[in-house]
């Protein structure tokens, strides 16, 4: 059964309070973030249906939103999602080399997940960190001024956290 914890449910009703009466659909983006955090980092159909029921909207209203925004994963992802920026300013500062290095190191292509389910590599467009390039997003954090050594350290950090 898909169900938020009591604490998360309280958070959901708090979020709904932010909007006028009858505008609870506005809570959709924040609640989808909560759902993705809670249910393994991606939005499976039953999860989206559950969110629809919480907000009293049609499931299709959730699907169309979930498929529009790049931060919602509609397929399973590894425990650690490396989202490396590849837009102009990061490219100028060597993002291509970093992406290449991660591919070789983890032996996966862009959009793929390692066999142990730990890492997924994704390329993304400008994350607002252009002055600290090259960079990637990892969960709620940004990892900036990336070098090969830094990538090694991040991979090691994730592996040790996973154990």
């Amino acid at each position: 059964m898909i169900k938020f914890s009591e604490e998360k449910l309280k958070k959901v009703s708090e979020i709904i309070q932010r909007y006028p009466e009858g505008r609870q659909k506005s809570a959709l983006l924040p609640v989808l973030h909560l759902a993705q955090d809670e249910f393994d980092g991606w939005l499976d159909t039953p999860v989206m249906d559950y969110v629809a029921s919480l907000l009293n909207i049609e499931p299709i209203e959730v699907y169309e939103v979930a498929s529009f925004y790049s931060m919602y994963n509609l397929k399973p992802v590894g425990k650690y999602l490396f989202e490396v920026c590849q837009t102009g300013p990061c490219m100028i500062n060597g993002s291509d080399d970093i992406i290449g290095y991660i591919k070789t190191k983890l032996n996966i292509g862009v959009g793929e997940t390692t066999a142990d389910g730990l890492f997924t590599l994704k390329t993304v467009e400008c994350l607002g960190a252009c002055g600290y390039a090259p960079m990637m997003q990892l969960g709620k954090t940004y990892r900036e001024h990336l070098t090969k050594e830094k990538v090694d350290a991040i991979v090691a950090e994730c592996r040790s956290k996973a154990n």
Partner: protein, 451 residues
């Protein structure tokens, strides 16, 4: 040192906390604003000459005075913290290091506009900054700046942070409103404008983070004093996020009286170009504004020094000038390939098109594919003309300005660097291992002398 109005306290230890912020003079503008009427605050902002810092540069006071005020209908202020234009990372800095400045500005602006509930819509990836803002809002609430009957004025005010979920288009104000309503970020057809029909069909003002923060010094020092800083219609200070091939990337608060050359080469700002390389080109105001070769960047076509302000950056129009835009300043050195850089931007816009209009949806994809083809040495001469043709057919033919924003960088790259594109076509193998280089792009421009 230029006068700083927004970031002068950003480095005071602990300024992120309410206590330190208040001790440093924070929230004075709210006290002062409550002694004025809403109309008087709008008047101060008009006097200041402040122009929207989100990219379009529209006068803020005028925008506020357009807000419809029908009886019995709520009005809303929404802060645009979606910051996603490549090269732009200034709002993030302000919110991360001095969050109370934005909150203070939003209280004043909300009072002036009659918004009892306001929202900060922040890009989803800035997750930790959303937490910082929520903490700061809690502190402001505990200290009586947010809530019911603030300072006994009878003004009730709530402020909420809403995270987006990864979509550049949600920076466009009507797409942002759609997103805040829990929908896909599809821009709306205008009119009606948000000032009449915005969030939940109510009158709404959408302003950039930096714009709202600037309200604080405007109220503290007075609109007239603010208008005396800067030059012409470029009043006050502007945050510039500088990146690319420079020694000191980061956020600079400038007063718009310095030259582009000083900004790039002086130690106070970007500190010049690493490894003794030479300047080739620059995109001075975020990825959508025209790229300029070094010569046109540093001097206008009239032969005058180009300055870091709205008027001077756009001097010469799109033929020989660019724009201030969002203040995302991207510097390219002699080793950079214009074709490749343009290709990444076309890919960006293709990725971010919401898909509602066919010229934008299809055109951005074509531009990306053709640029990839030229970049990988498979291009033909006619592809360059085709590229020109496509961008021209997008511009002006779409619901929202993303179409234009996608067309302009391609147009400017071909306009100023056409021989580099041609070189790629003529040297299909060499272009994979070598760059076109600086060539003539820094040469002095011949200025016609009129008798």
């Amino acid at each position: 040192m230029a006068k700083k109005l927004l970031l002068d306290k950003a480095h005071v230890p602990g300024i992120r906390s309410y206590e330190v912020y208040r001790k440093e003079g924070g929230y004075r503008s709210v006290e002062k604003a409550f002694r004025l009427t809403p109309a008087e605050i709008v008047e101060e902002v008009k006097l200041s000459g402040l122009r929207g810092r989100g990219g379009a540069g529209f006068p803020t006071g005028m925008k506020w005075s357009f807000l419809a005020k029908p009886e019995g209908v709520p009005r809303y202020l929404v802060c645009n913290a979606d910051e996603s234009e490549p090269g732009t990372f200034k709002d993030r800095y302000l919110m991360e290091f001095i969050p109370h400045l934005l909150i203070e500005g939003m209280i004043v602006a909300s009072f002036a506009l009659g918004s009892n509930v306001s929202y900060i819509y922040i890009r989803g990836e800035y997750a930790w900054i959303a937490d910082i803002l929520e903490n700061a809002i809690d502190e402001a609430k505990q200290n009586g700046w947010i809530g019911k009957n603030i300072l006994g004025t009878g003004f009730n005010f709530e402020l909420y942070v809403q995270r987006g979920a990864g979509a550049y288009i949600c920076g466009e104000e009507t797409a942002l409103i759609e997103s805040l309503e829990g929908k896909r970020g599809n821009p709306r057809i205008k009119p009606p404008f948000p000032a009449v029909k915005g969030l939940w069909d109510c009158p709404t003002v959408v302003n950039n983070v930096e714009t709202l923060a600037a309200v604080v010094p405007i109220i503290n020092e007075g609109g007239e004093a603010y208008s005396k800083i800067g030059v012409g219609k470029s009043t006050g200070t502007k945050l510039i996020s500088a990146c690319g091939n420079i020694n000191k990337p980061g956020i600079y608060e400038i007063d718009m009286t310095i030259s582009v050359e000083d900004f790039i080469f002086s130690d106070e700002y970007c500190g010049g170009i690493p490894n003794g390389k030479r300047l080739k080109a620059c995109i001075p105001g975020g990825s959508s504004v025209p790229i300029l070769p070094a010569n046109l960047l540093l001097t206008t076509a009239k032969g005058e020094k180009r300055m870091m302000n709205y008027e001077s950056l756009s001097d010469g129009g799109f033929a020989t000038g660019s724009m201030m835009g969002s203040g995302g300043f991207i510097v390219l050195d002699e080793d950079q390939c214009i074709v490749r850089n343009t290709m990444t931007l076309a890919r960006f816009y293709h990725h971010e098109s919401c898909g509602q209009c066919s010229p934008c949806r299809e055109g951005t994809g074509w531009m990306e594919r053709i640029l990839k083809k030229i970049e990988s040495g498979k291009g033909e001469m006619k592809d360059i003309d085709l590229l020109w043709d496509i961008q021209r057919k997008i511009e002006g033919n779409t619901i929202c300005p993303l179409g234009d924003a996608a067309a302009w960088p391609v147009a400017a790259a071909i306009r100023h660097f056409r021989d580099e594109f041609e070189w790629h076509v003529q040297n299909p193998e060499k272009c994979l291992t070598e760059n076109f280089g600086l060539r003539h792009y820094a040469d002095p421009i011949h200025v016609a002398v009129t008798a």
